[in-house]
Amino acid sequence: MKAFITHFVFDLKVGLRDKTLLLMNYLLPLGFYVMMGLVMTKINPGFAENLVQAMTVFTILAGTALGMPNIIVSGRELGIFRSYKINGVPAISILGIPALSGIIHALIVTTIIVITGPLFFGGIMPKNLLGFLIVFFAMAIAATGLALLIGVISKDSRMTVLWSQLLFLPSMLIGGLMMPSNILPASVSFFAKLLPSTYAMSAFKSLAYDQPADYNVGGSLAVLFAGGLVSFLLALYLFKWDNNDVSKFKKSALALLALLPYLVGAIFL
């Protein structure tokens, strides 16, 4: 346990010290939040209602989908994981610690957004903070699981960009951040429901703001938690200590199983 805590504290510090992680965890989400708060709320005043929850989801996506996969790839490429294995660091720590610290960083930025959004940009303070936190953690767990899986299956950092953008861009466009999911055409709506952000934005409405949700709240949370769990277990199973482990790369198609909870959600919710 002491080793886990020492490693976790070190990883938290790296999130602030490493320029790329600092950008993804703090500068990008806060910069984008300020820009959206200043510009978007003027262009579309209705956006202010969604500002806090949309920027929370953006923060989680930036820290996980854009920041986390490269940690896994570079750790493997630079022999860091080999060194960890030799010194008895378990795979669950290698995946679990960046996940936990990523969630902490996202929570810090989210706290800033929740406090300053209503003060400076006309955003709305969540009516139910506990509900807000439950959805935050559900979304963070889901996105972290997918980000770890992307890192594990990507052979190099170029592939992480491709896979990460497959999660990040659709989430931005049709995941409920920029426009409500319920105005999307049915065919697009189905694809939107393959994205964690769609369920998170819907659940925020009900649990944090006492508004009617687009999809069943319990179902949405179940999809997010199940999605996170399945992704994490798959990442653990497909985890490789180095790039020479070709047999695991051959099994990368198994990663598609991570979409299963979202597929179930898309069909039944």
Partner: protein
């Protein structure tokens, strides 16, 4: 008699149809420095990776002080210390943090005195990526010896280091050996192997082609010594007394002779110089080095 620290028996490592290591048999005694030599692709890395528990042997047995690296990962981490060829540390970790982190995983008290011993005290709060190559290698060595393992595996430990850093690392290795630590060192640096290793194995295409002390290996080769001579009057110019005597192409003032019997030939040359009323300025007899023997082994004529 010293106990066996590392036993590699009938070890085979295959990747698909390619055999990287073919029936390797090596026994390393406790407190020995054992050199693993060979050109690229000889099977050194595969052997080391199986010793380190990073890969599983296709066939055969590997035993490190009673620990099977493929099965006993938990015990292995306390039995061996490894300095990897690649960095092996996160770019933003500081030496102080690295000692904290790895000590925690080994469940030991952090030993910061190693920073002083390896001249890294002033850099203890500098990020790994900001350290020089020599400092990075020294930090990697600290990680390998932090938990006082009885067996240390070093992969190209002095690669890219300057002379001072190399000498410092050699001193540390010899210090560890004097305390009874067994060291397996893979290196391309023949001078290093000759200086440090008690025994060396030369691997070629996955097989051991030579095994013994550096002296045994050099003696088992062509065993031709090089005699270099320089005289005041250059009396050796144009002489036909000595069949293979020729000017040194690199250092024109010297003559050189390759000899299997350097003692007898030196006496003959000295007699000839005396007969010609010349004076000897310099005489050198160089035994074949491990490097020359290594080249003979990997490029047989």
């Amino acid at each position: 008699m010293k106990q066996t620290a590392v036993l590699i028996k009938n070890f085979v490592k295959k990747y698909g149809d390619f055999t990287a290591v073919d029936d390797l048999n090596i026994e390393v005694k406790q407190g020995e420095i054992f050199g693993l030599l060979g050109p690229n692709g000889a099977g050194k890395t595969s052997t080391l990776e199986c010793l380190e528990g990073l890969r599983t042997p296709t066939m055969g047995e590997i035993d490190i002080l009673g620990v099977n690296p493929a099965k006993d990962g938990g015990e292995l981490k306390n039995t061996i210390g490894v300095q990897l060829q690649s960095s092996g540390l996160p770019a933003s970790i500081t030496p102080h943090e690295a000692i904290n982190l790895f000590s925690a995983y080994h469940n030991i008290k952090p030993n910061y005195s190693l920073l002083k011993k390896l001249d890294l005290v002033e850099k203890q709060n500098t990020e790994y990526c900001m350290l020089s190559g020599g400092q990075q290698r020294r930090l990697s060595l600290i990680m390998a010896i932090l938990h006082n393992p009885p067996v240390i595996i070093l992969d190209e430990p002095t690669s890219g280091l300057d002379v001072r850093s190399r000498a410092a690392l050699h001193g540390i290795m010899l210090g560890l050996k004097s305390k009874g630590t067994t060291i397996i060192i893979a290196t391309h640096d023949m001078a290093e192997a000759e200086k440090l290793a008690d025994r060396v194995a030369v691997l070629l295409k996955g097989k051991v082609v030579a095994l013994g002390t550096p002296k045994e290996l050099t003696a088992s080769g062509s065993n031709i010594s090089r005699i270099s001579i320089r005289t005041t009057l250059n009396c050796l110019v144009g002489t036909t007394e000595f069949k293979d005597l020729e000017p040194d192409p690199v250092n024109q003032e010297y003559f050189m002779l390759f000899s299997k019997e350097p003692g007898a030939d030196v006496i003959k040359i000295l007699d000839y110089i005396k007969y010609k009323h010349d004076e000897l300025i310099d005489l050198r007899i160089e035994r074949p080095s491990l490097e020359e023997r290594f080249l003979e082994l990997i490029n047989p004529i």
